[in-house]
Symmetry: C2
Subunit: 479 residues, 2 copies
């Protein structure tokens, strides 16, 4: 079969080599390309279109909650980066430095932003004077640079696209509420738009953001049972505000430091989509984010009336806002089937002379392969239902993968054995000490993923050191 | 009067000091702020929102014509930049160079992109093999760096936001048609969305883009009668394709070099909006791009029913897609009038107890100050008409400014005298020689703006050298 031949030629089976399967999908579905700049990638039209849809959805949610977009400089003077001690320690080793400009050596070198807390703080110092100026709810869409040693499409780039929210509040309570609100925006977006189930929780002190008091995370499980941190939301207290001397006159007429948050997601979410939903035929895109939601394919298109009938389907779907395209090229139907499967288009609709005779068309779901005959009169309603059904199907499958790969362990050895045999997330109790966290990393190769909001009582002691346990925690191997 | 007091305090009159008026408007309307990075500015929410509206309008036009968005790396290795001789000569002196990354000296320094022709060419070399791969119609939204010596909000930044289109075509004719099509997209956008009349034409060889065969431009006239180059579209021929060894197999089964274009507009258009439409009360925004199109102000808002009536106006306008806001703060009506005038909101609507009694509200146009009573039943229709009327009014005023400040000269001395006395655009015949262009710059302080598509015969000889004239040309002092 031509189709199977193509499939085998193009994409490595994920069971054979998951990493190669992933790279194949990124390249063959034309999401990304390598550039001559080591560790930096080219976002190709199909990959960038996914990001544009993510942006559109998230941006609307941010604005609905009162956030405003701004744009701050791409360069940060070294002295500014150094103002907050923990922050510079975390980021300085990964910085790319501009040392020359306009043919001259700069008096002070500047890093290409790895994140913009410092620039936002400097700006906030200028524009915040009174409690009346609060809250400030800013967001920025941009690229950031982190000079990583290794790279991987979408998951680890030296330059990647993201959004960074930075907010300032009158009280700690308000800032904490914002931190949690934005974590929930991410969780809701991942589950309801990207069909990616999440575990919400707090990062340990070891894993939190450099300079933050608290970091919260949404963790997802990939098809290979590894973890992907899909988004984080940080509460800073007034640490940066003190370091940057940001003050405001409060309702009590006294000077106070404002309380701060930041939160971000990046194009690594696209890596998450691929590794959550993809299969051996290629990409599988969640319908609410797919650049092409429906591909219409004419069958026996040289027969009279077929092209017109296909075009009519396209026009009708376009009219109700479906992202639809047709392929009227001379390629064979088999080639087209494989091509749009590989590209992860959620729904394929075929129409040929027999269908026209019978007043119908045939839809095929990308997630399940199921074929559904649709009477032409019911096209709009049925396509809407089917796109929702594909979303639900993808979510259910991913949720089942997550739930069936969470294991409980009561000793470090047991945790290690489960990880080696099955992978997945391993839940244990934990005393809260860094030593035990490091021991788990050293001996079982797992980092802490999060202290989940949904706690369970699995025992009284930390299985690593035997001291009293404070909390339940998830461990896993992460991207 | 409180309102006049505020006005005088905040914004310098443009007749007194146009440059200071401009800076005052940028700062006081909260479009922009200075950062600690010399020559780099902060796009504040109100300024960035204008850019977002520009992006939305242009992006839709680009996509409608088949263009796709991509994102390429922010860094360009020096060796890549050097591949096209004219290009590197033009840009190298303005580059900012990254020389260190991840704590180590880089083997090869990389510049932060000043423009991306070289990266696009490298990518196109990888993805273009056959005429079937053409045309490639890519666009990128990003920021670029140019290490300028002086800076000015929106007009000259060391970092600015822009879009850069880069396309590859099978034939020279097709590439030329694309070059012209995109120039026309810019002209149409400027006139019909930003209410800025343009003169379309071709740049002289001296003023064309480094590496281009031909550069086309849309030139606008600011309120102070200086010129602003608002957008450019370049035809490259196959020069870059040869330098980068990009080839494709043609319909004749032979290898060919594709033909290339690029085109761009930037946030300097926002500077153009300010200097075209602004007045001594502040910003005046063209309605189709204004972040707030209508501000609704309740009068005597403590009186029963006023807040509710104002809110109803807001809800009704929102429902038809108008970008509308209300101000229910405790500030005085006089303060509010001045504030939203300063911010350039095209239409103000007031409603108070008397208006409610009479079933009406009162609109005030920002461009003319004219007050219009609107029966509440006609709100939606009248507001739509008024927003169009403000657009038309702004365009007519700007067009009158342009047309009444174009002068004809028949000697260099005459051109110089007109420029010193009146400013504006000065049209002359021209022999086409660089020497005469340089003489005009040297002696009259004017650069060539463009060789307009709409030619007139003003005489037979070049007024500078006396040799036979080839063309009519516009001269002016430019931002």
């Amino acid at each position: 079969m031509a189709k199977d031949k193509k499939k085998v030629e193009q994409i490595t089976d994920m069971e054979v080599d998951f990493a190669q399967w992933y790279t194949d999908v990124c390249k063959k579905a034309e999401l990304i390309d390598y550039s001559s700049v080591k560790g930096m990638f080219i976002y190709r039209p199909y990959g960038y279109a996914i990001w544009e849809n993510i942006q559109k959805e998230l941006d609307a949610r941010f604005k609905e909650l009162g956030h405003e977009n701004v744009y701050l400089p791409v360069l940060i003077p070294e002295s500014l980066l150094q103002k907050e001690k923990d922050h510079v320690e975390g980021f300085a080793p990964e910085c790319a430095w501009v040392t020359m400009g306009g043919g001259e050596q700069l008096e002070e070198r500047m890093c290409v932003r790895p994140t913009s807390e410092t620039l936002f703080c400097e700006h906030y110092k200028n524009i915040i004077q009174s409690y009346r100026d609060l809250p400030k709810l800013y967001n920025q869409w941009c690229s950031v640079l982190r000079w990583e040693k290794t790279s991987r499409p979408f998951l680890r780039h030296r330059e990647f696209l993201w959004q960074e929210g930075h907010t300032m509040h009158e009280t700690a309570d308000e800032a904490r509420a914002e931190t949690m609100q934005m974590l929930n925006v991410y969780a809701d977006f991942l589950e309801n738009i990207l069909a990616m189930p999440v575990i919400k929780g707090r990062k340990t002190d070891k894993e939190k953001f450099n300079g933050a008091e608290e970091t919260y995370t949404v963790e997802c499980m990939m098809h290979d049972r590894k973890a992907l941190q899909a988004g984080t939301s940080h509460y800073f207290g007034d640490g940066f505000a003190r370091a940057f001397d940001i003050t405001f006159t409060g309702r009590d007429n006294q000077l106070h430091h404002p309380h701060q948050t930041s939160w971000g997601v990046s194009t690594r979410m696209i890596g998450g989509i691929i590794m959550t939903h993809g299969d051996n035929n290629g990409l599988v895109l969640p319908p609410r984010i797919a650049p092409i939601q429906v591909i219409v394919l004419p069958i026996a298109q040289h027969k009279p009336g077929v092209v017109e009938a296909a075009q009519e389907l396209i026009d009708r779907l376009k009219a109700i806002g479906v992202r639809v395209r047709g392929d009227f090229s001379e390629n064979s139907p088999g080639w087209k089937f494989a091509e749009y499967e590989m590209k992860g288009v959620p729904l394929r609709i075929e129409i040929g002379p027999k269908d026209i005779e019978q007043g119908q068309c045939v839809a095929a779901r990308r997630d399940s392969g199921e074929k559904i005959t649709i009477p032409l009169g019911e096209l709009e309603a049925r396509v809407g239902e089917l796109l929702d059904a594909v979303h639900d199907g993808l979510y259910a499958k991913a949720k089942a993968n997550l739930m069936s790969n969470i294991y409980e362990a009561h000793s470090l050895e047991e945790a290690k054995a489960i990880q080696e045999e099955k992978g997945g997330f391993i839940k244990t109790m934990w005393c809260g000490d860094l030593e035990c966290e490091l021991a788990m990393k050293d001996k079982a190769g797992m980092s802490s993923r999060c202290i989940p909001f949904e706690q369970e009582h699995l025992g009284d002691v930390c299985p690593i050191c035997g001291k009293p346990a404070k909390t339940m925690i998830y461990w896993g191997v992460a991207y």
